[in-house]
Amino acid sequence: MNKIKFLSELKEELYDHDISAKSIDEIVEDYEGIIDEAINSGEVEDEIITRLGLPHSIAEKLAVFEDENNGIKGKMIATTPFIATIIFFILGMQLDLWHPGWMVFFIVPIAGVMLGARFNFRTQLVALSPFVATIFYLIYGFNTGVWHPTWVVFFIIVVLGLLFEETGAKRIIGASMFTIIPIVYLWMELNNPSIYNLLVFIVLIAIGLYLGVIKLSFGEDNIINRNATIAFVVMGIIYVILGLTLNWWHPTWLMFLTIPMFVMYRVEEKIPLVAYTPFLSVFVFIILGELFDIYEWAWLVFLVIPLVGIFTEDKDEEDIF
């Protein structure tokens, strides 16, 4: 492995271990300096890099030490499940609001994003958008019984992703079209509801394909991604049809929890099992609540999250030495 590849992998591993952006820059600069000085003193690049070890091991060791520096924020994130549970019980016991009081559990992932070291302002906005959209959609739906056409709020996820993670024409045209067309559809539905109004999204799909925002890759390496993309689009279409025809907006929205789980599985290597548990817990919780009306007991399923975290926890400082 050469110096450039080593430093690039190290940067990725540090990011994956939730180390802050500022610390990552410092650490990578330091390791570059170590390698340069070793070479200047007569060592061979390969040998020093081999002696330094794998970027994954380096990041693991540093994560243990960096954790102590992120103490307060880490503690705040760790307490949010307990705070959410207390609020949930108060809402349930005092106001009989087991449902939709369970929505306070959204503060757990939101706190993780807002207080997490790896997030800067832009990535925070993008990471928060699915939660904000979901909370708005659910609160409005539960309060008014109106689930359509408010589902267009989920386009905010695409818009923010385009604004903060893309450049050039894809960014400006894409963000504009993914904002304007859903608003046009909303206006059309509110003034003259018709299933044919959905045809306006054909324009959006065409623009998305043209700009590369929507990708259908046909290469062998991407068969799984291609099939998954098709599956999610079909899932979205089925959801809207079920909603429009049978008014099955809730809890069928649960099927969309498979999207973030799939993205984590395909995009991030070495994703811990505990990362999937919040989505699986929400699924089981809602199903138990809706089918058996036991929201006041179903919250117990969220205890799976810390339990899995404890049993699958990585090394601590003892193992570093």
């Binding site: 330091d30 300096g33 170590i34 340069d36």
Partner: protein
């Protein structure tokens, strides 16, 4: 050897080294890892910790191409902490020597 103990010893040795003169990251890692038989990646986080705790300060020096070289040195707080750690260590070694050399039959 207990990890907390080992970490304490490495910290003490790093601070002692840097009390003598300014040293680059590479120099510190090389000396400590060779003499104490610990991996460079174990020493580096300790350097970061000591620097975050304001026991060490950093001076950067641009030398040729590549990243600026960092030189660590002990701060006043670090000097005072080193004196306290050395005193504890010397006291500990004396006590251990007494026990190992003593006759307790």
């Amino acid at each position: 050897m207990n990890s907390q103990f080992k970490r304490g010893i490495v910290e003490l040795c790093v601070m002692k080294l840097l009390s003598a003169r300014h040293m680059s990251t590479f120099e510190v890692l090389q000396i400590i890892s060779k003499d104490l038989d610990v991996n460079e990646n174990t020493v580096y986080p300790i350097l970061r910790r000591l620097s975050n705790d304001k026991l060490l300060a950093i001076e950067k020096s641009k030398e040729g191409m590549g990243a600026p070289r960092k030189y660590y040195y002990l701060t006043e707080l670090g000097t005072s902490k080193l004196e306290s750690l050395e005193s504890e260590w010397n006291g500990f070694i004396d006590n251990v020597s007494n026990i190992l050399g003593g006759n307790y039959e």
